[in-house]
């Protein structure tokens, strides 16, 4: 074999190795798309088997939709905040505040019925704007500002409900509590959120800010403006959820919204969403996480698990699901 022949053979081997690497990368990519669904498919199948199909009955699917409705909607809003590396710990408190404002206005007859939903969204948006604006103007970390906002909102809610819980006329708003209405709203929010996050400059800029804030600024992105906008989007979803939650419970108490921010954080992390933000942020991750939480809680109750160890089981399952995401992204769930 002459020199040319050796070279040709070496090139052939190089091409083969390259092809193998490409095939391996593609396989990995495909796998990375499938793995996030693995956890949810597994628990769905598992609970369907142990409850003899009860979890998959139409009425229970309606239950799961009702129970994951709030988390999914706010998780969609939270994607805009977390994708740029932000964090908002005031979500639950703002839900309480929004509900208090709306319920008070209803009880005083201060607003007509059709204005209740817009006012609720407005309250959420304004608080989101306040959090974002203080964060970018004074330079205080968003986490700290949102904690302060949490205390302020909780204080207002507790003061307003200290004498008695605020009951709204349940039947006047029960129309909004119907499964079909909620499904339409849910699909609309997911659809709008998906388009805004994937195809508009809002989502693209926020991911760029999450990737590298300084570079994003130097590239001409108005970092402050889009950061505030992200908190406003999250706030608007919280306001929307406050309204639907109020029509579901019919009452506002000091516990309204309590712990909701942790539910959102759990959904985000469970879905494998990188808390550091950046280009790998996906809206589907947050939605998957929210649905997983609802299916797991619902399934364990339908299965008849002991309440004292339900949290333990949940914790271990969450750990496994996060581990799957972690493996997939080599440490990028949390930077």
């Amino acid at each position: 074999m002459d020199g040319n022949g050796v070279l040709a053979k070496e090139r052939e081997e190089e091409v083969m190795i390259q092809e193998q690497l490409i095939a391996k990368t593609r396989k990995k990519e495909k796998l990375s798309m499938i793995i996030p669904f693995f956890g949810i498919i597994f628990i769905t199948v598992f609970f369907a088997i142990v409850t003899k199909g009860n979890t998959l009955s139409p009425s229970n699917l309606n239950n799961i939709m009702n129970q994951s409705f709030s988390i999914i909607i706010v998780a969609v809003g939270a994607v805009f905040v977390y994708s740029h590396g932000g964090m908002d710990m005031s979500v639950g408190a703002v839900q309480g505040l929004s509900s208090v404002v709306v319920a008070s206005l209803i009880l005083q007859g201060a607003i007509p019925g059709w204005m209740v939903l817009p006012v609720s969204i407005l309250v959420g948006t304004v608080t989101g704007f306040t959090t974002g604006a203080i964060h970018v103007t004074i330079g205080v970390p968003a986490f700290v500002v949102s904690l302060c906002m949490r205390y302020i909102a909780t204080g207002i809610t507790r003061t307003a409900t200290s004498a008695k819980d605020l009951y709204i006329p349940y039947n006047d708003f029960s129309f909004w509590n119907k499964g079909m209405i909620k499904l339409v709203v849910l699909l609309l929010v997911i659809g709008i959120g998906y388009i805004a996050f994937k195809y508009t400059r809002v989502g693209k800029y926020l991911k760029a800010i999450g990737g590298n804030k300084i570079t994003a600024g130097q590239s001409g992105i108005n970092v402050k403006k889009y950061t505030v906008l992200a908190y406003m989007i999250l706030g608007s979803t919280v306001g929307l959820v406050s309204f639907f939650s109020l029509t579901r419970t019919g009452v506002v108490s000091s516990s309204t919204g309590q712990g909701f921010e942790l539910d959102i954080l759990t959904a985000i992390v469970l879905g494998g969403f990188p808390l550091s933000g950046g280009a790998k942020s996906k809206i589907s991750s947050a939605i998957l996480g929210a649905i997983t939480v609802a299916i797991l809680t619902n399934g364990l109750i339908l299965w008849g698990a002991d309440p004292n160890i339900i949290n333990g089981i949940k914790g271990v399952l969450f750990l496994i699901i996060v581990y799957l995401s972690y493996e997939r992204r080599k440490g990028e769930v949390v930077s």
């Binding site: 009452v251 516990s255 698990a305 160890i309």
Partner: protein, 396 residues
């Protein structure tokens, strides 16, 4: 990758095994034969002369329970008491934790989906009533009540809400003040969680305030509403050396213990007397030393009475025509170490304060004399002496 998949499969398998055990432990309705306290479960009292049918002769029912939790003293006792009644009535209980209103509604949906015949719940909300109506599931409020006029209207119109049974928190507040007053205390302070946090504490505070109004010569030095209760008492002790009475509206979860500690550290022993709610660790010792003059507790048997009202409806012999009217029961009051010793033996001991036969006597299907009046009679008589006199023979 294969190793990865294997380890995941192994882990998930492990979880499912744990879960299966969890499910089994929940579904297990077999009787226990150990003589443990109520945290470990009550013993079934076998009465061969019983005039009521045994559990094996009764149709099986399934009942869901929605409560804040089952690991604290009250929650644990409620669970043990209901599990005991489950063995006596052939009823399978499904216990679900719920903290927020949203969780109570979700819990109701999930329990209905599980196929329960009835639900015992701490909260009763319009949407829960609506779901119970749609599913034909009976709903009974336990250890709480609704005061919202719209909700009460829904309850009154509902075919499936069986009622609300709870302790009379207002009267308890009144009794705490009256007891300290009768002991000669004239300079008191009172402490409670912040307004709006818990309706039962708010009702106790209303009772305290109204009782204080009755006594012109009773001087309220200060009051505090919030979570820093021990710190508040510390400040009161430093500011008001004349303080001779302390009222705390309850401290389940360790709150009362911190009050005892402050009383000791601030030298209040022998100077001030405490009146409070929620019997727990240290109660006997403090009653003996005189630092604690009055303590109320023993709420968990109320859930047995609520179960009787629910069971009557489930078997087709409802006894409550006015579910919108709360059935109030008194707290059990302890004022001496003897009271406490009897409480530990006859209430928190191996036999619950109401045996299966005593609850069966409230079921119209088994006892034609059963009525709401009889339920109220049980409540009117409820005291430590009542339980001792009824169950003395069972311990001999």
């Amino acid at each position: 990758m294969k190793k990865f998949k294997k380890s995941i499969a192994l882990l998930l398998g492990l979880i499912m095994v744990i879960g299966s055990l969890a499910a089994c432990s929940s579904a297990d309705n077999g009787s226990k034969d150990s003589n443990e306290g109520n945290k470990g479960g009550f013993d079934v009292v076998t009465n061969e002369d019983s005039i009521y049918p045994a559990a094996s002769e009764l149709d099986p029912y399934s009942v869901g329970v929605l409560l804040w939790g089952y690991t604290d003293q009250l929650g644990g006792s409620v669970k043990s008491n209901l599990e005991y009644l489950g063995k006596e009535f052939n009823v399978n209980f499904s216990f679900v934790e719920a903290l927020t209103m949203e969780e109570y509604i979700s819990g109701t949906e999930n329990l209905i989906q599980r196929g329960v015949d009835g639900i015992l719940s701490l909260l009763i909300l319009p949407s829960m009533i609506e779901k119970a109506e749609e599913a034909g599931v009976y709903l009974q409020c336990i250890l709480n009540e609704s005061t919202d006029p719209d909700t009460l209207k829904l309850i009154a119109e509902s075919e499936y809400v069986t009622g609300m049974v709870t302790e009379n928190d207002y009267e308890c507040g009144v009794a705490m003040v009256d007891d300290l007053y009768d002991r000669g205390m004239r300079n008191i302070v009172w402490i409670a969680p912040e307004a709006g946090m818990a309706a039962n504490h708010d009702n106790r505070v209303r009772g305290i305030e109204d009782a204080i109004e009755k006594h012109d010569d009773l001087n309220v030095l200060a009051n505090y509403r919030g979570t820093e209760q021990a710190e508040a008492l510390q400040s009161f002790a430093a500011t008001y050396p004349e303080m001779d009475g302390i009222i705390v509206t309850g401290g389940a979860g360790g709150g009362t213990e911190s009050i005892y500690q402050v009383m000791q550290s601030e030298g209040l022993n022998g100077q001030a007397v405490l009146a409070t709610i929620d019997i727990g660790e240290g109660t006997g010792e403090k009653l003996e030393s005189g630092e604690l003059g009055w303590i109320a507790g023993g709420q968990f048997p109320t859930t047995g009475i609520a179960f009787a009202v629910l069971y009557n409806a489930m078997v087709g012999t409802p006894i409550n025509d006015t579910p919108e009217k709360t059935i109030y029961r008194p707290f059990m009051v302890l004022q001496s170490k003897d009271n406490y010793d009897n409480y530990m033996k006859f209430v928190e001991g191996s036999i619950p304060p109401y045996t299966g036969d005593e609850i069966k006597a409230l079921i119209k299907k088994f006892n034609p004399e059963a009525s709401l009046e009889l339920v109220n009679e049980y409540g009117d008589n409820y005291s430590i002496d009542d339980v001792v006199s009824r169950h003395k023979d069972l311990f001999d």
